[in-house]
Symmetry: C2
Subunit: 122 residues, 2 copies
DNA sequence: TCCATTTTTCTAAAAATATGGAAATATTTT
DNA sequence: AAAATATTTCCATATTTTTAGAAAAATGGA
């Protein structure tokens, strides 16, 4: 991932409403969600929501498909994975090895590498 | 990591100059770097740089220590690791398992999980 | 103490981003 | 074709962020 895209994505996520939209779309999975539903859940006016959806779409984090008279938005899982890759490679410097070990160590023991308690999106 | 801190950190990284500062500090490692040096490398006026350093420090991504008449800034490696953890847990939903496998698969084969070519910070 | 060095705070102006109502567009239903 | 539904674009306003010069503060050395 190039610097420009990474900045675009970081910028898209760096907003309270937008990161909430993204989390809802991740939670929605492949079936996605539409503006009306999101606006209701987040209690945000439709025009404001539309603005943020456009922002997220422009960042490549989400995709839109017309389905009948609604537009279905889906999170691009690969893009957030790529962003994490970018942060690991470009922003973790020499200690990238340590981080990878962190992510892998409990895996070897057959445990979950990450706690599940806080996972609001599962 | 709570949502508020994650937003603060994402926001701090979502700026061209600031992410460059952060990368330089990661590269500098434990010995850190001072505003004068960073301003010269990035070709940014000192007052502007000071503004961004304050922003990064406020986000908890970097720390400052007075050393003689200079102030030495250091990247907090743990915080970027925590952010990655947050993104994995809160923004990768059901597919977090897939991501971990992605980070672990080549490890098992004794390969580097991430390419080193693009790593500007090593 | 006075001077040089380093960095910050203060400040004002410029630029970018966010908000939400009104109108417009697109699609389906009647 | 008209009405209903879902969403967007247009627009003006408000808010926040960024920029960088000038002055101030902190530290070390002569």
């Amino acid at each position: 991932m190039d610097n420009k895209t990474a900045l675009l994505i970081l910028n898209a996520l760096a907003h309270k409403t937008r990161i909430e939209i993204f989390k809802l779309l991740i939670k929605a999975g492949a079936k996605g969600s539409c503006p009306g539903e999101l606006a209701e859940k987040l209690q945000v006016p439709l025009t404001t929501l539309s603005f943020h959806l456009h922002h997220l779409k422009n960042s490549t984090l989400i995709e839109a498909t017309q389905k009948g008279r609604q537009i279905v938005y889906c999170a691009d899982f690969g893009k957030i994975a790529e962003l994490i890759g970018y942060l690991l490679e470009d922003c973790c410097g020499k200690d990238v090895e340590a981080l990878i070990q962190f992510f892998c160590k409990t895996k070897e023991k057959g445990e979950r590498p990450l706690s599940t308690e806080r996972q609001s999106c599962r």
